[in-house]
Symmetry: C2
């Protein structure tokens, strides 16, 4: 049993391919948020390969140091899928074939016009005394059990299978069990997030100095990434040392002002999409150095076909002239990377498309293409909303590679649009 007096958790992700990284981990954010809402704090994240003794070692370590262990992965039908055996070894519970698990799997496969293969029978082998967690999407069931004062759940690693199983299976079971463990108090924690754009981390840091009063345990987190600085407030749902999260959040919004572009799960493209929808405006985009990234981001949002009319990626100068009507004299005089060309691109795409607003980017993403007066990272964004409604802005992005400069350029263009839409909507 763990020695801690608060509710602590560890996730164990199983899979040799995960040891190598190179994949975006979204499971742990999901699990951490859901556990926090129940008053359980994620303290460790472990990744281990498909090796039985390593898995048993990781499980034993976790069961010793936290009260809640969530395993993901290793529940498939192949001999590499060893999570069931590892839990059996770590806890001393034998595996047995469960009729309920087998029936559910057979029924699921029948829907797909298939019957279980011999190897799929393995998926119905569940440690004794574990409760089966049904999988509403795939064939592999999960399971949960309580062992020496810790709660353990094993789930598939695929997010769209794991997420409903956490929500509908793990959390109700976990909360019911926590209520029986009276010596440990659970304080439900909440986490609120603000997303800011256009300023460095140090500016956000200064603006929020002294936000959390002394003695208050609410935690302020400030995290910089190429496209944004994210602010998080984590703490108990109620009042805490003279402040609540909602009060601090309100104060943070006031201090940060319009550099806050969104909250919680919002993205710059979803915010821009909402504003365009609200104002019933359509958008056309002319991209150069971003190469299609702005269009890609805008169209990640379901329903974006309602406001995205078209995007022209004019990588060559000829394309800028032909697709957007940028005068070739302007390119010759000012260069393709200039405020004048950005303005002509935004105007050109708006006029040719008939969209309400045109947005443009031109810049040097590197590593090649720089000159003495125009270094890598020099980027111009433009906006045209009709006569008298033209804007351009210059950026000099330092210290990033081609991918980062593309990201930051796309963010700068979408943020220019966001600010224009907010002013227009007022």
């Amino acid at each position: 049993m763990s020695q801690t007096k608060t509710w602590t958790a560890e996730t164990i992700a199983v899979g040799s391919e995960l040891l190598l990284g190179g994949r975006l981990d979204t499971n742990s954010l999901f699990i951490a948020d859901r556990l926090a809402a129940c008053g359980v704090e994620l303290r460790y994240k472990t990744t281990v390969g498909d090796d039985l003794s390593d898995m048993v070692s990781a499980l034993k370590t976790a069961l010793r140091r936290v009260r809640v262990v969530i395993l993901t992965g290793g529940l498939g039908p192949t001999i590499d899928d060893l999570t069931r055996e590892a839990v059996a070894q770590a806890t001393g519970h034998r595996l047995s074939r469960r009729k309920a698990a087998l029936d559910a799997m057979t029924a699921r496969l029948a829907e797909w016009g298939r019957t279980p293969t011999t190897s799929q029978f393995r998926q119905a082998m569940i440690p004794a005394r574990a409760e089966i967690l049904s999988n509403p999407v795939g064939t592999a069931p999960g399971f949960s059990l309580v062992w020496k004062g810790s709660f353990l759940a094993a789930l598939p690693g695929v997010p769209r299978e794991m997420e409903p199983m956490v929500r509908d299976g793990v959390l109700p079971q976990l909360q019911a069990w926590m209520r029986t463990q009276k010596r440990i108090s659970a304080t439900p924690m909440i986490r609120r997030v603000l997303h800011t754009s256009g300023v460095p981390e140090s500016v956000v840091d200064q603006a929020l100095a002294g936000l959390v009063p002394k003695g208050c345990t609410i935690q302020l987190g400030i995290y910089a990434s190429p496209m944004e600085v994210m602010v998080s407030l984590t703490g108990p749902a109620g009042a805490e040392g003279g402040a609540t999260i909602e009060q601090l959040l309100k104060e943070a919004r006031t201090r940060l002002g319009d550099i806050v572009y969104g909250e919680e799960d919002e993205t710059m493209e979803s915010v821009v999409g909402r504003l365009l929808n609200e104002q019933k405006l359509t958008l056309a985009v002319a991209e150069s150095c971003t190469g299609g990234l702005i269009g890609h981001r805008l169209t990640q949002v379901p329903g974006s076909s309602a406001y995205v009319d078209r995007v022209a990626v004019t990588y060559s100068n000829r394309a800028k002239v032909e697709m957007l009507g940028v005068p070739s004299g302007v390119i010759e005089r000012h260069g393709a990377v200039s405020a004048d060309v950005a303005a002509a691109m935004a105007r050109g795409i708006r006029e040719r498309s008939g969209a309400a607003v045109g947005v443009s980017v031109t810049g040097i993403a590197g590593p090649g293409g720089a000159t003495e007066s125009k270094p890598v990272g020099l980027v111009y964004v433009g906006l045209d909303g009709g006569p008298g409604e033209g804007l351009t802005k210059e950026f000099r992005f330092h210290g990033g590679d081609r991918a980062v400069i593309k990201q930051r350029s796309s963010q700068a263009a979408l943020d220019l649009l966001r600010r224009w839409l907010i002013r227009k909507g007022c």
Copy 2:
């Protein structure tokens, strides 16, 4: 001291924000590859927050179960940066301010026209007997030490600081130390990778059945992701149970044939770019459901401006007519998502741009927009390379959300182009 008889490693990433995921982990792939080349196998990856007792616990666990521990993060100047203290506590080595570390930091800051702040002095506090690892990019030095038969290195978490410090500092030290540990043999391991596209995991699995002879310890890994099935062969550099990695790799290439689109670090867009460059051809793209993703991917490759002429993202039907000259009658008769429209889009963008080849995509990315006869996931890709050189292909992608369908559609279009370029180049 660890009980293992081979060289095993664990990475510990420090930082509360890392517990929440949502970030691409590239450090572990880099570290795993470099360690494998020295004969050290990465067995565990642990992530822990900025909490001293959790860090000490994670360190003690790692020092017990592996021989090589690589810590990343927590070396900055703030009071949240606790890696130095955690190593001191876990190993019993006191921290002391090192003149060499302080001098290097002062010199680096002087280059930037700055002097060390009080908090930056903390960065020169290094555990006694540890060797300092100089940081060629930032201000925080790393350090390494040997403790009860295990090698431990602490490095910054920022990849562009960490990577040269591993290459030039950690690996030479580690290898020198390993040579003194004669009871454990180190077998340098190599890992070779093939990338395939266009077929499901089960097809790759069947094609490679029996590839690795019985008794051979070379490991075959097959990993599916939305855009590809990746094949890896991992094992000792020399002959092993009657086969070498290079022999198996050659056999795998033969068995898989042209579904292999690339090897090692190659991406579909880098391969397509190389083929276009070799054949001195230019490309224009007409995208609908992918929304700019194809252009974005193509332009991630440095130097892509040599062959990418332009991209038209024609989200609306009107844009298809105006930007590409798709006859509105064809859209009315067959619908915007049809082989005929895909063909007309590819032809239109090629003719209007004057590029050598045009590629197109039109499809239903969902969640909206489906009809009874045209479900979400129905996608047509097209290619036009001039008179008599037109192709279209239909895809029905199942079981993915909007983002996945966009990814798979972009991959299908680029793969069609790749195959066409290979035939043309022969």
